[in-house]
């Protein structure tokens, strides 16, 4: 594994750690709007759009909230949605892909020839947008929205794993050790889940890592479009959306830069891990 992969692992660990211990790491309440006493005006005014300082490390946003604490708490949403989506769609994708590859014949024709193609025929993000928009009804609570985001992203995400899994199973089911298991009388399910799947899992790990980057990005995109967890709850996508007014950008560009950079580094980290693992697991690629 190269240096970039280690950087990826380091950033990912920082991200996961931050998300888990968000309450301890955040310096302020993420939704509290801070105010200060203005001498000249003689009254309390909003502490808005302040540049980074010792008190507010990443400055404050247009409503006087602490940007650092909001980013830390936003990590929690990204991580939770990302890991849940990767796990659920991974499990479904692996099972469906394994069935298509192992049983072949009509199963394969139906699943790989038809179902996969249907799901690949939608642009993923568009389908996710539509599903969240339709599921949400009038006033979704934050928990509803998290659930809807996860459902939408799983519906669009499983097919990636299924395709990789199918290819792997097609290859591995012909190996000698599987033939041996079959000769010893192992049932189809036993061949599939005891012998084939554990040996087919490596490229799936790469897929999962890249999918994690995709899920974090998709969650941020949907939040940016107003389909994430409703305000005032902090998510990176919403923060970027709130910071892109011309007034806010001119007076306080840090509002846009910090969440943007954190999002970029997180996506980068999982991409590095995925690419690094791919090279590590497939030495033929290393020479490039």
């Amino acid at each position: 594994m190269n240096r970039l992969t280690y950087i990826g692992f380091f950033l990912a660990i920082v991200f996961i750690f931050t998300a888990i211990f968000a309450n301890q790491i955040a310096t302020h309440d993420p939704i509290k709007q801070f105010r200060e006493y203005d001498q000249s005006a003689g009254r309390e005014v909003s502490l808005k759009n302040k540049p980074p300082s010792g008190e507010h490390w990443f400055g404050t946003d247009s409503l006087g909230r602490d940007v650092f604490s909001r980013i830390v708490h936003g990590a929690r949403v990204s991580l939770f949605v990302g890991i849940t989506v990767v796990t659920i769609s991974g499990i479904f994708g692996i099972i469906i892909g394994a069935i298509a590859g192992f049983y072949g014949g009509w199963w394969d024709k139906f699943l790989a020839g038809y179902v996969f193609n249907v799901f690949l025929a939608f642009p993923g993000l568009l389908l996710a947008i539509a599903i969240v928009a339709f599921l949400s009804g009038t006033n979704p609570t934050p928990n509803d929205r998290v659930r809807h985001l996860i459902i939408a992203m799983c519906i669009t995400g499983w097919v990636g794993y299924a395709r990789v899994m199918r290819g792997q199973v097609l290859k591995i089911r012909e190996y000698d050790f599987v033939q041996a298991a079959r000769a010893l009388g192992a049932s189809n399910l036993r061949q599939l889940f005891v012998h084939i799947v554990p040996n087919a899992i490596q490229p799936l790990i790469v897929q999962a890592s890249l999918a994690m980057a995709g899920a974090v990005l998709a969650e941020a995109s949907l939040s940016f479009l107003g389909l994430g967890i409703p305000p005032p709850n902090p998510t990176w996508g919403t923060m970027i959306d709130e910071a892109r007014g011309i007034d806010t950008m001119t007076n306080a560009l840090h509002n846009l830069l910090f969440p943007g950079l954190v999002l970029a580094f997180t996506v980068l980290a999982f991409n590095f891990i995925g690419d690094g693992l791919r090279e590590y697991l497939d030495p033929k690629q290393r020479k490039r």
Partner: protein, 326 residues
Amino acid sequence: MNKYKLLNFVKRLGLFVLVIFTVVSLVTILIELVPGDPAIARLGDNATPEQLQAFRNRHNLDVPSFFFSYDSVDGFEWHGVKNRYLDYWKGVLQGDLGISYDTDRPVLDLVIERYPATIKLALAALVIAVFISIPLGVLAGTNKNSLIDNFASFFALMGICLPGFVIGPLLVYFFAVKIPIFSPTGSYYPEDIVLPAITLGAALSAILTRMVRSSVIEELGEDYVRTARAKGLSEKVVIYKHVLKNGLIPVVTILGLQLGVLLAGAIITEKIFNWRGVGTLLLDGINTRDHRLVQGVVLIISVTYILANSFTDMVYRWLDPRIRIN
């Protein structure tokens, strides 16, 4: 056209029709996901029963949603052919996508008004991506591990990890606020397309640069390159006439697959720049809970994507005769 080719063509056409059929069906069913009564979801709790009834009549909401239904109270019930699913299909085949809840205009008209702007934006992004990625990828691939290669890698990395909704506002800040060359939002003047197209094309140019680079490196190791060089052809001819022609084959596939990403990304880009295309139409539909409109937009974008993919597939086969045989 020989028998084998014809069979292959019929097979692929059959799959295409099947996929279109399923996509339309799925989109039709999407609207049933809306929790509760769509009339109440749209008009709110304060609407009078008469208003609700008028709304249901206008939008064909009081007929059953499918051929049959099942719930714990009534059990299994057969509704016959008078159902919303079949009605929507009849409409689609006649070019009628229903009436927008919010504006009371035909959905198809609304989409057609906005459609050219989105296609224009997507094509502009595509052109920008191709014009950046091919020269950069070739330079990086032919000068492996040089300064330009490292620059190309860095550029590609930035394009992949910085999403459009971070790049877009930054472009607005630098090229519309700090240095006012372009207007920050809107689509009134021809040059207004520049910033949105760069925003939308950034990710694609990053992916393509990587593709072109690795493709060029791979092709440079092939025997025909040595032959071409041995014939005394100039390096320029070797690279642009021989290597690039073969190296672009995988790039074309990626281009086709990325078109979906481009169309979906257009929704985000259009929001940033207030670009009046189908993306902003979709978001307006979501905000006003105009589910009929959202349904229509999703349908049109998906069908566009499927058509574009099939087209790419054809180009791909034409470019690489090896695929035609398999």
